[in-house]
Symmetry: C2
């Protein structure tokens, strides 16, 4: 098979040197007629500069790396969508890796990105600081999205305003008369959990630790946690689910135990997903701007985010549908 056309071919065809071709193509100075000739030759030969050569010279792949726990989860999918959209607008390729929220896999994937010469990364971090040491040491520009990592303070982050979102949710439930409000959290929801506790105390409701449960990042584990909560404490009248997987589990468990929503129990979920509207009744949610988070993070990383950048917090939105009612 014929080899792809290189800058040398174009130079030859246009009767100029390779340096001139490079200059013309990257907007450097050149006389009008030379520029004309080069452009014509390039077009005629259907020349596309190879990123390979350029990358080697520049000692970096232009693109951006994206590390998320799971492409399949609606929230991370939307974050990824935002990153992809921004990168595409900038003409940058995106290398994606799924970490499964496992620090080890995360570490390996970071290594892979380093090897590829990627120097800009957007990540929803697993939570461990360790995997990120080599990254910052190697001079990577990293922006965290949706979460941050304790102990990695020199990395800017784009987050949902979880505190305020959760506060709104809790206030809403308390306003509806609920007093025994449960919380179902998962991995990476430290902020939300803290906000839940704080808001309750701020409203003068003592925190009942038994009403706070956690599931791991699988459907089964989340379901077990939700079901356990409902059965162990039948007196609870409302529940805040800290993520879409947890919310799904809560809906399922409630149905399984014949708890009517919202009559027997009020449900509110952090994260908005398509199915929230399909539920019966439709789920009331705190919607984080997942796509925007991804987009903004990508913007930041492309702009070469200042290492000492602070966190950007994007507002969430309370979307009242039908899953919360007055205390029974």
């Amino acid at each position: 098979m014929r080899t792809r056309t290189t800058i040398k071919d174009v130079a030859e065809a246009a009767g100029v040197g390779v340096a001139t071709v490079s200059r013309v193509l990257s907007g450097g100075s050149a006389s009008p007629q030379t520029r004309e000739r080069v452009l014509a030759a390039a077009a005629q030969l259907d020349y596309r500069p190879s990123a390979l050569g350029r990358n080697l010279r520049r000692r970096s792949t232009g693109g951006i790396g994206l590390l998320i726990p799971d492409v399949t989860d609606s929230f991370y999918g939307r974050v990824a969508d935002g990153v992809l959209a921004c990168a595409r607008a900038a003409g940058e390729p995106v290398i994606v890796g799924a970490t499964g929220d496992d620090p080890e896999d995360e570490s390996e994937l970071i290594g892979m990105l380093l090897e590829q010469g990627v120097e800009r990364v957007v990540a929803v971090p697993s939570g461990e600081a360790e995997p990120w040491r080599p990254a910052t040491r190697a001079g990577l520009t990293v922006v965290f999205a949706g979460r941050r990592v304790a102990g990695v303070d020199d990395v800017p982050a784009v987050l949902a305003d979880e505190r305020s979102g959760v506060r709104t949710a809790v206030e809403y439930l308390i306003g509806l008369g609920h007093r025994r409000v449960a919380y179902l959290g998962g991995h990476g929801h430290g902020q939300r959990t803290a906000a839940f506790r704080d808001t309750l105390t701020a409203l003068g409701v003592t925190v009942d630790e038994e009403l706070i449960a956690f599931g791991r990042a699988t459907r089964d584990s989340a379901y077990a946690a939700a079901s356990g909560l409902f059965q162990h404490r039948p007196d609870l009248t409302a529940l805040v689910a800290a993520g879409n997987l947890l919310g799904e589990a809560a809906v399922l468990a409630a149905r399984e135990l014949d708890l009517r929503v919202p009559k027997d129990i009020s449900l509110i979920m952090f994260d908005d997903v398509p199915w929230a509207e399909l539920c019966a009744p439709p789920l009331t949610v705190i919607a984080p701007p997942a796509r925007d988070i991804g987009y903004r993070a990508a913007e930041l990383v492309l702009r070469g985010a200042s290492p000492r950048g602070r966190a950007v917090r994007l507002p969430t939105e309370l979307i009242v549908r039908g899953s919360c009612g007055p205390r029974r």
Copy 2:
């Protein structure tokens, strides 16, 4: 900042030539003690060979490209997950692009991949043949996933067995006594639509073209199509939705029009999604093995799929939940 350590540094530290280092690291022949020394030096310097240099030399990025319409859609998300899993097992990076099912964007993204030196691509194609011409001309190894393209026959594909899946669905509904069965299709569902028609005629039910409607790939459009169908033909008793977006629209529209499922209308959807179980009643579906499709496609492309490969069809599964009942 110190520059990253190169093969030259390792060679120097080990007191050997760069060729030897390269050989040792890529499993070539070398004397035991030399190998030892090189390995030690490499470990000590924390050397990682740069993919940049290698790629240039090899004239190709090792990785694989992945083009899907929308990361956010559950089906494509699962396909992507499968591809990512397989690529990770093989240690290959994946460059992802979202085409939005737009041939123009698709074409641009293919160009981007070409430029990056990617030579293996898994894609859920938009349906146009044109964007793929430059790809095959440039010698790309392409594998289609989930769909194929009319007129691009030299590209192998990994598909769900849609014919058989849709046939099962229709037979199920007919078996339940339904005669006026509607179909709600979308972009890229040619196979499903054909199978729908064929099965009806095979079962001796005349196809009522008015009961076949299409939505574009947006929620609004799908909803409009579903709602229109229900209102225009209140006599229909069952509906097959050809994809998860269409199914979502059907559920929503049915609820809006106070049609009870499955009493007034039976619903069956092609594609299984988490929310299918959350619906009230839970949705009966034809589940395609989306993740497997992605995984197999990636396997194929990594194995350097034979250009004249035929299509692989993976079986679907009918999952009976609660959205289909006997004809009213």
